[in-house]
Symmetry: C2
DNA sequence: ATAGAACCTCAACCTTGGTTGAGGTCAACA
DNA sequence: TGTTGACCTCAACCAAGGTTGAGGTTCTAT
């Protein structure tokens, strides 16, 4: 009885999620997913793990590092099924992150558009290049513009 | 005459660009910037390097890897000042990249919005989670959705 | 009962984008 | 002529996010 229908081997999780076995090992090691072991020391995952893995991959596509994803996952119930409310909260936090990234990129694009308008790249005039010359004395030059892209 | 006014030491480039000396070494090593050497083997950079470094940092904020940035920089004149036309072309290529990223993120956000609407996370119904169940047989499951985020 | 697939651990390696430090040289000022 | 700060090279190290391989065990089907 090592394999009740509700348990998945790591190979099954890999096939169903599209994530390599080695990556699943890695996620487990980092504490993002959990398993129990059979008598023979093989991993068995609750079906729930498929959701978690999907959440991990989507979160990664938002640019979240695994450490942050771990925190978000940690807010889900440690065991048992995830409720719709849990999901709504997590997904809402994603959209905030997403909105922030989109805003950052859009702002940067606007800068670029202005730069296309002038094409100068002039140290004196172009807000895109050499902002350090307009900010003499601050000591960190180009950093100012770069910050606008949002982390 | 190691220091005509038009030449910058690496320390000056670092201070004016806000980029660490070690990073400038790194960029030179990767072929993104170039220098000549004094009799005493110290680097001297044309002022032009400040523009290139600024272009590198902005490009990085778009998420471009240095290898791609190197290609873009390679399209600029190898020596001599960069013309406004050069800049326009390069910046235009950035905005395309940016637009693509923004579109990808926006599409992902729309998915999330729909998911918030239902909150189901159901294997059968939720397009965000477990798309592999709707795509049985394709063998790469969640990859489908993830692709939407754009590279 | 036994082959072969699937699994296990652990360590080494990979890429990207750098930083840090050791050990040594150069340049500029007094 | 010091001496001090800026510079040089080269190698090692870091973080993230994994992959690869060696060497060994377990599971499942025949």
């Amino acid at each position: 009885m090592n394999r009740p229908a509700s348990c998945l081997s790591i190979g099954e999780v890999s096939r169903r999620s599209g994530v390599a076995v080695s990556a699943l090992h890695f996620y487990e090691n980092k504490g993002l997913i959990a398993s129990i072991r059979t008598n023979g020391n093989q991993r068995r995952f609750a079906r729930d793990v498929l959701r978690r893995v999907a959440l991990i991959r989507v979160s990664q596509k938002l640019g979240l590092p695994l450490a942050e994803i771990k925190v978000l996952l940690g807010r889900l119930p440690a065991s048992g099924p995830v409720t719709p409310e849990d999901v709504k909260a997590m997904v809402a936090s994603w959209t905030e992150t997403l909105d922030a990234r989109i805003r950052g990129l859009t702002g940067l694009r606007d800068h670029l558009d202005r730069c296309i308008g002038c094409g100068c790249l002039s140290r004196a005039d172009c807000p895109l290049v050499n902002p350090e010359d307009r900010l003499a004395g601050e000591g960190d030059g180009a950093v100012i513009l770069l910050r606008e892209a949002g982390a």
